[in-house]
Symmetry: C2
Subunit: 133 residues, 2 copies
DNA sequence: GACATTTAGTCAGTCTACTGGACTAAAGTG
DNA sequence: CACTTTAGTCCAGTAGACTGACTAAATGTC
């Protein structure tokens, strides 16, 4: 699991780098958890399973890279929402494309039914392995 | 895949810590690749996909912890073998026990056949995702 | 409505993992 | 025997993660 995960992660990051987006694995893990309407730092930290400090540090870098912005949360003056910028959405799209490519490759190797079963099984496994979900 | 992998890794490390073995994830990844007759640093580095420097750094820590030793490689005077010490073998045993526990839990959740399929599929996936194997 | 507690996020300091580049010594190769 | 490759080390630097201590706003309680 470790090997396969690292493989897909590295491929996605390498392709993003080729496309001119300098994103690291740690940044990507936080980035991938930003919802369509923006997400609070604390929520990002919880779901990515890192401390608030670490999440803040990574978001700072994403802000500097022009991928996301921080806006005040209208419903809570203490909080701020981390929200996608257009450049961030481009990265998301590109990442999804690469993911699809890799999925297609894996399907070619494993066969359609085995790949479908794998996807489904990993989803069920997440029920007991993801403390956040 | 990331979530499930992290879950099992953290559980194994937590249990080892409880048993008095202070091992980090990075150390564990190198440690797990040491063969029964000892393994060269370069080989550990390649299979764990880190640089020789990193592998050397981690092995140093394992040596300091009393888990492994470095002995000259009889077949090559440049090389040295990283070899398990008795304390290291205890860690291996303990780790395997925890792994079995987790596997049993997953099997309870997924069902016997799905778990068997998962194990098999992950093996096949490794064929195309592990550059070393 | 005052007070205590919780929650969102930041600041400062530290440690681990990892990298690149330069180097030594032994092995293999024409 | 010169030449290249291979095993491993030393040095210097960066990224990512953590703990602990803090501010400010929100929420709960009597």
């Amino acid at each position: 699991m470790f090997v396969s995960h690292r493989s897909i992660e590295q491929r996605v990051l390498a392709r993003l780098r080729e496309s001119g987006y300098e994103i690291t694995a740690a940044q990507g893990r936080v980035f991938a958890r930003i919802g369509p309407d923006g997400t609070r730092l604390t929520e990002l930290a919880d779901s990515a399973q890192v401390t608030k400090q670490t999440a803040g540090f990574l978001v700072d870098q994403l802000v500097r890279g022009g991928y996301v912005e921080r806006v005040p949360d209208p419903s809570d003056a203490r909080a701020r929402l981390v929200r996608m910028l257009p450049r961030g959405r481009l990265v998301q799209e590109r990442a999804r494309e690469v993911e699809d490519e890799v999925t297609a490759e894996w399907t070619r190797h494993l066969g359609e039914p085995a790949m479908a079963t794998l996807t489904q099984t990993m989803g069920r496994l997440r029920e007991i392995t993801d403390p956040y979900a």
